[in-house]
């Protein structure tokens, strides 16, 4: 199919593209920017007047719940929700059921993804078998089967020797380790940020040091092993400082942050709101602004949704007994635009963190608007507004912490490999 996207403002920070130009697509590739290719006859014209035409977004972390947790969501439902926020590539962590530690599971995910036909899915393989933090997973075989990195998900590896060997082995397979840095003992079964609010609410608390101690340890082991290390979901300002210092030393270290930690703080759990029970926890305002600063100075190079859809029962119980995680994927872009509108982030920075820079971390060739590349496109109507309503979420998980928020910006179209996978005007 040949598609002509007309009159939109093309916006691709990494290529320094910000211009009112047309975009031409044939089959699954972009075949022309600004100038119509010779002999091009469009089958479909999309009017992008007054809209931003962006590369399809790359979500560095979203849980699509297949295989094993289909009562919380499926690749079909969640990738559709992702499309409504302009997301065309998703990286998913290995804590499915069964864990992504065999090629069979990877194949299953790829199959489901092809069937849904809505997003590219890039699974992370397990770092240890069954995420047991003891034995190394078959990282080479997993890479052959299509994993772009390895991770131990939320299962912290307490044994430093095991962590060291896991880093070394991943390095030998030329795989990036995606590490959620948290010291289990310091976490001490906590569910909220250690501070005045957790004291007032009487919730078991997670000190800042649970993150910073784990980061420090991992950085030193990364230094020793030369592994490419990516820190997942930073939550503390202090943690940002530690990583910044390591980057200054030229260690191959990157970091991302979840959208929730950029917009919410510990105050949002004040009424024991379990939709705000997250891992890592929402921390103080000082931490939030420290994370924003970390984006602006280049320490953090990706914003992800950290999407975790849940069934109602998972949140229908007292706070500390609820499962952590928020359903955010369908609002990733409008929520990021909220930060732009509040002037905390510049538009170029925000978009690059959702596209090319996220793609770099994953070492995939996505997130740009270039002739010859895959036609993954997101068309954003900046003037339209998005109202977040728990009951109207497209995701199977209704656990959104942003219920009632009015956001600026709404995706009108999403294209994957040159095919329109989302058209808001056709939504019921």
């Amino acid at each position: 199919m040949r598609i002509h996207i007309k009159g939109g403002r093309l916006f691709d920070p990494v290529n320094k593209l910000d211009a009112k130009q047309d975009l031409f697509i044939a089959e699954d590739k972009i075949v022309g920017i600004k100038k119509k290719p010779d002999g091009f006859d469009s089958d479909l014209q999309i009017n992008a007047k007054d809209k931003l035409v962006l590369p399809g977004l790359v979500d560095l972390c979203a849980r699509l719940r297949e295989p094993g947790l289909e009562h919380k969501g499926t690749i079909q439902t969640e990738s559709f929700a992702a499309n409504s926020s302009g997301i065309t590539s998703i990286c998913c962590p290995p804590d499915t059921d069964p864990v992504i530690d065999t090629p069979a599971v990877i194949e299953l995910i790829h199959q489901r993804s092809r069937d849904a036909g809505r997003t590219n899915i890039y699974p992370l393989g397990a770092l240890t078998q069954n995420l047991n933090s003891e034995q190394l997973a078959e990282m080479h075989i997993l890479k052959q089967a299509g994993c772009i990195g390895v991770s131990n998900a939320y299962n912290s590896i307490d044994n430093a020797e095991v962590l060291r060997r896991a880093f070394e082995y991943a390095h030998s397979c030329d795989l990036t380790v995606f590490l959620y840095a948290e010291d289990n003992a310091l976490k001490n079964n906590g569910v909220a940020h250690e501070g005045a609010l957790s004291t007032r609410l009487g919730l078991p608390a997670i000190p800042e040091s649970a993150e910073t101690v784990a980061i420090s340890r991992a950085l030193l082991l990364a230094e020793q092993t030369n592994v490419r290390l990516h820190f997942c979901r930073l939550s503390t300002a202090r943690g940002v400082q530690l990583i910044k210092a390591a980057q200054k030393q030229n260690l191959p270290v990157t970091a991302d942050v979840a959208i929730c930690n950029l917009l919410l703080t510990e105050m949002d759990i004040a009424d024991y709101n379990s939709d705000c029970h997250l891992q890592p926890p929402l921390r103080s305002e000082r931490d939030r602004t420290g994370l924003i600063a970390g984006i602006n100075d280049g320490t953090i190079t990706a914003i992800c949704s950290d999407h975790q859809p849940h069934d109602a029962d998972a949140k229908a119980t007292p706070f500390s007994l609820t499962e952590s995680g928020a359903s955010t994927i369908e609002h990733l872009l409008p929520l990021t635009m909220h930060l732009v509108n509040r002037k905390e982030l510049k538009l170029e920075k925000a978009i690059s963190l959702l596209t090319s820079q996220a793609a770099n971390i994953l070492s995939i060739e996505k997130g740009t608007l270039e002739t010859g590349k895959d036609a993954d496109i997101c068309i954003l109507d900046i003037d339209a507004s998005t109202s977040v309503s728990k009951d109207n979420l497209l995701s199977a998980g209704k656990n959104s912490p942003f219920n009632g928020w009015e956001l600026q910006g709404s995706v009108s179209h999403t294209l994957l490999n040159g095919k329109v996978v989302f058209d808001r005007s056709k939504l019921k």
């Binding site: 250690e194 501070g195 005045a196 609010l197 957790s198 004291t199 007032r200 609410l201 009487g202 919730l203 078991p204 608390a205 000190p207 004040a270 009424d271 024991y272 029962d313 229908a316 119980t317 007292p318 706070f319 500390s320 007994l321």
Partner: protein, 326 residues
Amino acid sequence: MTGNIIQLDNNGNLKHFLSTEGLSQSLLLNILDHAESFASVGERHVKKVPLLRGKTIANLFFEPSTRTRTTFELAAKRLSADILNLNISTSATSKGETLSDTLHTLEAMHCDMFVVRHANSGAAHYIATQVAPHISVINAGDGRHAHPTQAMLDMFTIRRHKQSFENLRVAIVGDILHSRVARSEIHALNTLGVLETRVIAPHTLIPKGVEDLGVHVYHDMDAGLEGVDVVMMLRLQKERMRGALLPSEQEYFQRYGLTDERLALAKPDAIVMHPGPINRGVEIDSGVADGERSVILQQVSHGIAVRMAVMAMTMGRSNDDMGGSK
């Protein structure tokens, strides 16, 4: 924060009693005044009033407790209510029945009130958001968060001995970190307008940011007790020794135990309180616990009157003037 919005109905009357936080001074004093009326019921020939006749109160204890449960039961019976005792062990919930399902089953049995004790902070608050509109929830202790009836019976006891809260210095001693009693006491004391609230404990037992609740923190017991009018001792649980928070009971007693010597640093008419059960020789010396300044046994009897007051207030809607016919 948590508390007042959900605890009060549209007319500002107490509907749920979940926390002493966020309630007005006049409401807290009202509870104490009603408790005074109910206190005399236990001294009569017929130790009952018909106020809650025909109502069913369910004791939902997810955490076992004989003392508190018995006092609530007695309070309910003195109000002529029927009582259902449900000790919900964790095995019931591990069978897969959600908390919501348990609540709905009980509602189908026409319960009018739930008295809830639960190991997790925010549990009573959560239950209050889930129950049918006519049902009241009383928090009998949720995790580390609140134990409001305990705090109110302690305020009742203090008022009986000191008449006014205005010029009082109160010291709360012990495991503040894990104590729901401490948190509820602090909110109540500050709302009732005491001069100063102090917490005394080793660093490992003081939660971060506790000053925000409106207390002065002391790590030196002797300094902390100087000139106080009320000493509230908290129970030290044995698990704290195993959790790398304290080395031993002996050392704790040496640094923070209430002895006659230490009590002498407080005002000469200072009273000694403890929510019970007491660990003799760990947080408090036997001599002090049984001594003339101790009001510990009175606290227990006050608990019935205070719980009667809270039950009566939440079950009926209060009016501004005495309506009804003569």
